[in-house]
Symmetry: C2
Subunit: 333 residues, 2 copies
Amino acid sequence: MLIRVSTLVLACSLVLSGCQNSPDVKTASVDPLPSWNDGPAKKAIVDFVGQVTAKGPNFVPVEDRIATFDNDGTLWVEQPIYTEVIFTEARVQQMAADHPDWKKKQPFAAVLNHDAKALAVSGEKGTAELLAVTHTGMSDEQFDGIVTSWMATAKHPRFQRPFTECIYQPMVELLRYLQANGFTNYIVSGGEQEFMRPWTDKTYGIPRERVIGTQMKTAFVNNGGGAALMRLPQLDSMNDGPGKPVNIGRFIGRRPIAAFGNSDGDEQMLEYTTAGSGLRFGALVHHTDAVREYAYDRESKVGTLDKALDEAGEKHWTVIDMRSDWKSIFSGQ
Amino acid sequence: MLIRVSTLVLACSLVLSGCQNSPDVKTASVDPLPSWNDGPAKKAIVDFVGQVTAKGPNFVPVEDRIATFDNDGTLWVEQPIYTEVIFTEARVQQMAADHPDWKKKQPFAAVLNHDAKALAVSGEKGTAELLAVTHTGMSDEQFDGIVTSWMATAKHPRFQRPFTECIYQPMVELLRYLQANGFTNYIVSGGEQEFMRPWTDKTYGIPRERVIGTQMKTAFVNNGGGAALMRLPQLDSMNDGPGKPVNIGRFIGRRPIAAFGNSDGDEQMLEYTTAGSGLRFGALVHHTDAVREYAYDRESKVGTLDKALDEAGEKHWTVIDMRSDWKSIFSGQ
């Protein structure tokens, strides 16, 4: 749902985790996860990485050290609403000048008037229409440019910084730590794939070919304008819930040994990952910090964490408690 | 179509290209493509690689040095019939003991009796049924084992060597040469994706996550047997013709700068690749060598090369003449 934030909450002052890199930054004595408190989550991560990389019964060859990460709520902020929804709304506003009929036509009027009720009435059909109009009808390369331009100036309503700076510093350190230990990291997100690819490499160090998301159909066209891939207004693959392991199989063809999520949409990805033979790691980011970020789980409309949280104990998944496990949330604060 | 080879043609004696590695194998003076004759194709490849890797107007950053390769007829032999068809036939024969009704039921009876006519009558519906029965109904990991077992003992009817040794030595050298120059190689084949993934890394040095093929639908299941991906008897994506650039966009998200194919099924992949800005390379393996391999193009039922061959001149695609450009065809001969 497109929900407007009516008030801007002052960005809380976060203590910078510090840790200016000293010259011996490359030695083993330097903490690779400085933004993590020394608690059970950090210990579980470091123990796991130590076991799969050391010679012994749990050793895993480099090519099978696959780690998958959800994006919204796992690597970056997903409240008060998914960034892609804010992008969609901005696109509607931007395109409205060329579509005077939208003032009275749903679901566009609802977006233009910030009318959440009317938008809710338009339902899934309305959402599909908004997605089609704002995300498709151009080549993938043109869409890449549209996303890049928007990302360069748009800001998070509460934190008043670019969305690509609303990423969790502890998770960025985790990505680097895994990579330094021979892991290959993938994003496996419900977000539309081409909405993420333009900025994931700069932001997370995850290149476009390792971004798996919800996919729109495309068509190869080769007319006067040259050979290109046109984005069509039809859903191809919904990369959420059971769609996540399905797309992991399709794209990667290997069962991950570690998976990180934060909502029920990640449940099946964690099940698939941790059901594999040998040592496996599943973790959920639990948003428990209303002061520094947000606190939400079972009742939240965005990023609901309910069934997966119940399952975590039985499946030995690590629950990362944002408030107690993370020394800092964002970088540069 | 399932066609039996009734006679075995004696493997022709190929001259081993020689070139025993000397201690200075890593120096630039060693020919990286020893199985290629010094002709226009080799020169075009070396010129292209030199230009995109050297500082200058045609330099391409490493992350964009993407090369895509068709498999059947481009990296390995596709005559007298695609290897996957031979596998399908073997699976039917292997499974027949548990299906006594197949003796009288089409399209299975046609396969068991080597009845090409009856098989042709069963048409696309018959092919789909054969594919469903032989390729699906198990987990992706189980299918991996089935393919691996078959590949270990099956032999090419003419060359009497494992199919994974019926690969073109000049193309293997090309893969290594590109990789050594910072390229990332992908297979983009009409073959079923999971039929290729079990052996491409050992055979070509192309790991499973860089194999894009025709895809069957899968479903995530998590029952008593544990969380797994089950292969369903439904086509998900046909990776041939325009499906190749579509899947390149979906999986890689970058337009390749080099593409190699051998049939009209590769036409759109080459169009998409060579229409990009900057220096691009498109090439077709032209099968012109009936003595050492096979000679076929426009009239062939397998690997038809007609429209793409006409287009090659206008689009400045390199046509690799197997007979004159390749010093040897297979390794170890």
